[in-house]
């Protein structure tokens, strides 16, 4: 017990830095606000820094910590709204529980966190496949025919590949989603020119194929944050969700309208 209590200034800094890093990793990978708050307070408590205040927004962490002996640790960290990796969230969550249970020393915990943070995303090919299958199944649930669903599988996969490419070249969200929506509509229109016995419906294919672009994580998190009275972050994320929905729909609808309006629905 006594060995743990001697928190020097150096240690206090390190502990707070660990807590801040854990919070940053969580927040940038799609965790909710209170999970970040809890993780920070658990880590600090586990290493005996009691006087900690953390204020967390959906894109920033403000944190101060004090052990009554040394200088106060204070930092503001900006975290842009970014991608989702629930695997990392789960791992950091487990790490925080293990730290709470006293299973890691400070150094071990820091190394483990660094290891978790560097975890790569899954192979784009498999992700595209998953996206395609997901889109196709959604299309099928919405009472589309098997042909339409199979076409949607192709469209869904291509859209995810486009989306990953756009993210890699750091396209703005607006451009990415409008182009994504437009691409879906174009591909769906192109699919109607493939001669089948029965015709295919453009609308159903579009509705299925936009599912991979829909920001499900932001949507669910915003609701749960508002339910948990984190109104500020919840509203920001809700607005983010609505805007992304709008961009996708605008992209798709514009292409459709141009097709019907300018080309008269055919060549």
């Amino acid at each position: 017990m006594e060995a743990e209590i001697k928190t020097t200034n150096d240690n206090c800094n390190k502990i707070m830095q660990l807590a801040l890093d854990a919070g940053t990793v969580l927040l940038s990978n799609g965790a909710e606000i209170w999970r970040v708050e809890d993780t920070i307070s658990h880590i600090c408590k586990a290493y005996q820094v009691d006087d900690v205040d953390a204020f967390i927004l959906s894109n920033a962490i403000f944190i101060t910590g004090n052990n009554d002996k040394e200088a106060v640790f204070a930092k503001v960290k900006h975290i842009p709204l970014s991608g989702v990796h629930l695997g990392i969230v789960t791992e950091v969550n487990d790490l925080s529980r293990h730290i709470s249970a006293g299973k890691y020393t400070l150094e071990e915990a820091s190394t483990k966190l660094e290891e978790i943070r560097k975890r790569p995303a899954k192979n784009p090919f498999y992700r595209a496949l998953a996206s395609g299958i997901g889109a196709g199944c959604f299309c099928y649930i919405l009472k589309a025919s098997v042909t339409e669903s199979l076409l949607t599988v192709v469209i869904g996969a291509m859209v995810l590949l486009f989306s990953l490419w756009a993210e890699k070249h750091s396209f703005p969200k607006l451009v990415k989603n409008i182009l994504g929506g437009g691409m879906i509509a174009l591909l769906a229109l192109a699919a109607t020119y493939i001669p089948f016995k029965t015709g295919v419906s453009v609308d159903k294919m579009i509705i299925g194929a936009i599912m991979p672009l829909i920001p499900g994580v932001a949507f669910v998190n915003s609701i749960r944050e508002i339910a948990n009275t984190d109104f500020l972050s919840g509203t920001v994320r809700m607005l983010d969700t609505i805007m992304v929905f709008m961009y996708i729909a605008i992209g798709a609808s514009t292409v459709l309208s141009l097709y019907h309006g300018l080309l008269g629905g055919g060549f």
């Binding site: 789960t90 969550n93 199944c137």
Partner: protein
């Protein structure tokens, strides 16, 4: 009979869809299947609701409620964040269709259909939010009423334990 077969196929479709999306948002391998199960339950409840004539909004509410319930239960059983199961599981209920149709009809200039789809989207999004609120609150109460998350597991707060903590202080 035909209805049962159709429902089975739909539920399986939802399972596969949610499974894929759980994979897409990088859910850890061991939880992907469970997320798929959550989604399948949601779809089953929704389909039953529609077929018994409950209407789209009430069916969505019940579906979201069951999804949230199962997610919270799984999260406590497998000691994983609730969002793992909830995000992918809720996706089939999310009114993506309505959202798209709304904007589509806005651009087409069809005000009647715009109003119809806009209202429907708002209603469904609202009841999903309500369902998640309800379940978060219920499970939050459960935590206060005697069950506490003690680092690695959920434990029942026993009086003697509380006493010993007081002694330390």
């Amino acid at each position: 009979m035909n209805l049962a077969a159709e429902t089975t196929v739909r539920v399986f479709g939802a399972f596969l869809a949610v499974y894929s999306f759980a994979y897409l948002i990088e859910t850890p391998k061991k939880y992907v299947l469970r997320a798929g199960l959550v989604g399948a339950l949601g779809c089953l409840v929704y389909t039953i609701g529609i077929n018994t004539g409950l209407g789209e909004v009430l069916s969505s509410f019940l579906s979201a409620l069951s999804v949230a319930f199962l997610s919270h239960t799984f999260a406590r059983i497998f000691k994983a964040p609730v969002t793992l199961f909830l995000i992918a599981g809720i996706l089939p209920t999310v009114p993506g269709t309505g959202m798209y149709q709304t904007v589509h009809y806005i651009i087409e200039g069809n005000q009647k259909m715009t109003a119809y789809y806009f209202t429907q989207t708002l209603e469904i999004a609202g009841v999903i939010a309500l369902a998640i609120f309800v379940m978060d609150t219920v499970f939050g109460l459960l935590k206060k009423g005697g069950w506490k998350q003690n680092s690695l597991k959920y434990v029942r707060i026993v009086k003697s334990k509380v006493k010993s903590e007081d002694d330390v202080q």
